[in-house]
Symmetry: C2
Subunit: 196 residues, 2 copies
Amino acid sequence: MAEAKVKTPFYVGLVHGPVKDKAGSTVTTSVTNLDIHDISRTCRTFGASGYFLITPLKIQHELVNRILGHWETDKGSLYNPDRSDALAATELVDTIDDATSKIQQKEGKRPLVVVTGAKLVGDGDEKQLAQRAILDQVPIFLLFGTGWGLLASTTDQADFRLGPITSCAADDYNHLSVRSAVAIYVDRLARSLCSP
Amino acid sequence: MAEAKVKTPFYVGLVHGPVKDKAGSTVTTSVTNLDIHDISRTCRTFGASGYFLITPLKIQHELVNRILGHWETDKGSLYNPDRSDALAATELVDTIDDATSKIQQKEGKRPLVVVTGAKLVGDGDEKQLAQRAILDQVPIFLLFGTGWGLLASTTDQADFRLGPITSCAADDYNHLSVRSAVAIYVDRLARSLCSP
């Protein structure tokens, strides 16, 4: 993949399991075509070094590999080469730790594991996160949870908790889709990470 | 819908037709379930007063009305009431002018029609747009095009052209999905529009 113009590398991970469901139980959600597609494009546009789809379900791995392979080798990719290129840095792993290890192998340093969530108490905002990572010259690994969000065990172990996206609705409605949330956080982060 | 905490009302419109296709021809694209769903949630979270799905195709109207009705009245809505509420301010119209008229009827003023596009030369950024609308106390109507974007005839007639989202990829890859683009622009706009 072409070298990005960022001051320190960043990666995005979409966690399908373990996450919480509506009742607070631990589940694994299904990977969707559009989560792969949309978030790959977001990552690609903002210079992410990689996008990890994280799911331990082997049956999902088959679907995802087909999608990742489909766009790249099928005649489907002939219609829209931009879509094929968007998936070039997207890969599939079983766990968050697998993704973190891969980043460490690639970058020579363990990344700052950063979590997000609508109800999370933040350690700071995107600018503070970027400043810290740039200063320490470490990569950022930005995790998002599907379903009803990441488990407390995941967020507690993280190096940095990003403040939630604040609602501007009078009733505080705050239910962005994960695709939209990723776009927003990555755009905000890129503001500090992207070299002019 | 609950009153928003914004300094001036804003609306979002997703134009399915007329837009450009890959070859530059004028087309109408299909409305997708996730465009309705994701963008409704984005609008709702950031205090938009309404979200217009714009398509002249009557056959699409049937699908869209079913989706808008489904979430609100079907037992499908029992599982996730948040989704139902997200669609409360989403409506379907034939043309951009229809939407603009509805806004004018509701707000008593014609809105500032604002366009976006990856290749558009901007009049300014979201902060400047917000300042102008707040000063003049007019609503904002933020238009997005599906397919390969809004027609030149649409963007030329607009009151304000928002600068494009800048790529941070070394090869300038810039192909965000419309769902992601809406989330980013609305988040940026809300920064100036949302009362603390």
